[in-house]
């Protein structure tokens, strides 16, 4: 097989990387492709399609990083993709070769998948990774013997320590992949005479492929309806019990693998390897939870401390850019659109990057060290009563910083129902964008006093709001659990891998690619909504808007001091907003929000802050014509405290209204970035719409209740 690629070959060869979870496949992928990676989508599923270009000896090779799987039997969307690509069902993603990565310590489990690939007829090579761990475990693998047994090229690598990477590149370059013929014949576990027409219809070369398609083809929605209905019809006439065949296949395969292993594996020591001493603490019924709590605290501390610096910089940069544009470009609608609509819109997307990157950085570290699956182990029991999975803890915890990475992290959950519930409830966790709203409202109505000598009343209120969010999560999840129906069985089978130090390159690459995915995929929707909201907020019926401008200009002409001018300008922006389309909408919804204790000015802020919660503060500042530095909490607070509600004649921000608003913001969706990311993760508008309606309704009724309790 050793032959160099002919120079006239222009289409790059495609090599699929495949392996069990936790075998270092991603590290190898990163080493081969570095920054030449692309993340796309597979049709019909939410699995990221990770591809990359490897350049070696002036040749370009296409590397596909398939999701980790234990077998070709697809249980989750991830595994459906592995199944689809390796069965060569998709013309576009058809790999020329497959490189199977095996954890040297877990040889038999790796060989299970490897021999299935051989039986599919793929041209294969095997990299025995984690050679260092095998050595530590006193295991020696006779690679030449393994090569003789399987008939497939074998390499030994240690990706963490960058050993064997050049050999992999060279192997790919030499196209040193082979298929030795079936490891197990399909006829050993089923009657293959019934597979003939399947092979003909799908143009397959062997029985094992035909059996795979019959058994699992219907699980793959990427297959055309024509082919699916053909399979359905075929299944009706089939007299083979495919499930029994699958069990039989598994037994025979493992039996034969055991025979191979006896020949190739040398145990230098018969001492049994126990689990890591760290697990005595991390999995301890009490200490385990304390450690987890401590780690969470550390992460949030870091996110709040570190993310705020770049976020302020981004905020400042886009504000300056907007100001610079409006002063440089000739005045007019285009200049306004750019400086007040597009630039802040882009800023609103970019501002999330520090949080997303940091959160995914921490998640990657936890995942990479092997700690994350310990958390799943500890939390599963407490998640299940609410229809959630142990894996739901990651999205929920992320939600306290920002729902966006949380929703993105939900895709690791294999069970459809548990995944949807997790996505639906994650935005109810109080994220960091709610904090400015909480703080300003608490400052208005809750006295800065201590009760019982130690607890600060304001801090307690803040804590209560966070807890309210958690209660919302649990109640909603519990409700969805009984509403949503699925035939999928929920199960937990998870490997708790050995502890390892994180690979910083992989962590950095995860941060980079996750942020990029967010910007490119959710960014479009966010930008579009920002621009629409900006247009609604800056334009109104021309007659009204012009009238306001005229009156204010006259006032301005009469103004004498700078202070007066500033006051008039602030008043102008307030009046313009009042008469804009958003202002009209705000007045329009007043009858609806009146029972919550809000006047139309708050209504405007509610609509405007649909883009993002923190916009509430700046809109309130504009509409009450506060002017000046809106970042200064105290100024806003003092001004707000003097506002009078035109309906009741009382203070606008009295206790009932402020608490009602706080509760509203605990539950309301009010974040189009979340909306956009839920759209992306659920592949449609159905769930994000249900979620928005539900959260808004929940917010409304909870706020109504709160208002009535306090007034």
């Amino acid at each position: 097989m050793a032959q160099t690629q002919p120079p006239f070959l222009t289409k790059p060869l495609k090599i699929a990387l495949i392996g069990n979870p936790n075998v270092g496949k991603t590290t190898i992928f990163n080493q081969l492709t570095g920054l030449n990676q692309k993340i796309g989508n597979y049709p019909g599923v939410t699995v990221d399609k990770k591809t990359g270009a490897m350049i070696y000896q002036e040749q370009v090779y296409h590397i596909i990083d398939l999701p980790g799987t234990y077998s070709l039997y697809p249980n989750s969307e991830d595994e459906i993709i592995a199944h689809r690509v390796l069965n060569q069902l998709s013309e576009i993603e058809k790999p020329d070769f497959a490189l199977m990565i095996i954890d040297s310590v877990q040889l038999s489990r790796g060989l299970f998948l490897a021999t299935q690939l051989i039986d599919l007829g793929l041209n294969l090579a095997i990299a025995l990774n984690m050679a260092d761990m095998a050595e530590k475990s006193q295991l020696e693998i006779k690679t030449y013997e393994l090569f003789k047994q399987l008939g497939v090229p074998i390499l030994q690598t240690d990706a963490r320590h960058l050993k064997g990477m050049d050999q992999i590149k060279e192997l790919i370059h030499q196209q040193n992949f082979t298929n030795p013929g079936p490891f197990i014949e399909a006829k050993e576990f089923l009657d293959n005479s019934q597979l003939q027409d399947v092979k003909e219809y799908f143009e397959l070369s062997n029985d094992y492929q035909a059996y795979q398609i019959l058994r699992f083809g219907l699980k793959d929605k990427g297959l055309s309806e024509e082919k699916r209905s053909w399979i359905r019809k075929k299944l009706e006439t089939l007299t083979i019990n495919l499930e029994a065949a699958q069990l039989e296949e598994t037994k025979i395969r493992y039996k034969r693998i055991t025979e191979v292993i006896e020949k190739v594996l040398v145990k230098k020591s018969h001492q049994e390897v126990g689990s890591a001493p760290l697990d005595k603490i991390f999995l301890h019924p009490v200490l385990g939870y304390l450690v987890f709590g401590g780690i969470l605290l550390l992460i949030f501390q870091a996110i709040f401390a570190w993310a705020s610096v770049p976020m302020d910089l981004i905020d400042g940069f886009f504000a300056d850019l907007g100001a610079w544009l409006s002063s440089t470009l000739p005045a007019g609608p285009i200049s306004d659109l750019l400086s007040e609509g597009v630039i802040p819109g882009i800023g609103g997307v970019v501002i999330f990057i520090p949080q997303i990157a940091l959160l995914f950085g921490f998640l990657a570290i936890l995942e990479d060290t092997g700690y994350m699956s310990r958390v799943v182990f500890l939390m599963d029991r407490w998640m299940r009563p609410f229809g959630l999975h142990g894996k739901s803890i990651v999205p929920l915890v992320s939600g306290v910083a920002c729902a966006i990475p949380g929703v993105m992290a939900a895709r690791n959950i294999g069970n459809w129902k548990e995944k949807i519930i997790t996505i639906m409830v994650t935005p109810l966790m109080s994220c960091s964008a709610r904090l400015p709203v909480y703080i300003i409202l608490i400052g208005l109505v809750v006295p800065d006093e201590a009760i019982f000598g130690i607890f600060n009343l304001q801090a307690l209120t803040l804590l209560a709001l966070y807890l309210l969010g958690v209660i919302g999560v649990l109640v909603t999840a519990f409700g969805l659990k009984s509403i949503l129906k699925t035939s999928e069985k929920s199960f937990l089978m998870v490997e708790l891998p050995s502890y390892r130090t994180p690979r910083w390159k992989d962590v950095l690459l995860t941060m980079y690619y996750k942020s990029r995915t967010f910007v490119t995929e959710a960014g479009k929707v966010i930008l579009a909504i920002s621009i629409i909201l900006w247009i609604l907020g800056s334009y109104g019926p021309p007659s009204q808007m012009d009238a306001v401008r005229e009156i204010q200009e006259e006032k301005l002409a009469a103004a004498s001091s700078e202070k007066q001018i500033a006051e008039i300008e602030a008043e102008t922006s307030s009046l313009l907003l009042e008469n804009s389309f958003i202002g009209i909408l705000g007045r329009g919804i007043e009858p609806v929000i009146k029972p919550l204790g809000y006047d139309w000015k708050i209504g405007i802020a509610l609509i405007a802050s649909f883009a993002a919660r923190e916009v509430f503060v700046s809109t309130i500042a504009t509409i009450y014509s506060i002017g000046g530095d809106v970042e200064d909490d105290l100024t806003i607070r003092e001004k707000l405290d003097t506002q009078i509600n035109s309906n009741t004649g009382e203070k606008t921000f009295n206790k009932p209204t402020a608490f009602s608003l706080m509760v509203f913001y605990v539950f309301a969706m009010q974040c189009m970035s979340t909306l956009a990311i839920v759209y992306r993760e659920t592949k449609g508008w159905k769930w994000p719409l249900i979620q928005t309606v539900y959260m808004t309704a929940l917010a409304y009724f909870a706020a109504l209740l709160t208002y009535n309790i306090f007034s």
Binding site: Y73, T250, D279, L283, F377, D380, G390, L492, M493, L496
Partner: protein
Amino acid sequence: MTADQLKISHSAIIEDLIDSPLKVNLMELGFLPGKKITLQFKAPSNGPLAFLLENTLLALRKQEAALLQVKIIS
């Protein structure tokens, strides 16, 4: 007996797997007749169980562990 009834640090040999849609999933992870498993950790309040199976720690819920018919060896 089944694997969910094991006590911590007890080892057992898997004798058979009870029929269920999850049987194949257990088998592909390496839970096969003849293999030795040791219960290492239990999450509190009937939470998941962590078994040592050939150098790997694998977590199962009780209901999945109940699919493994085992014979205690120590």
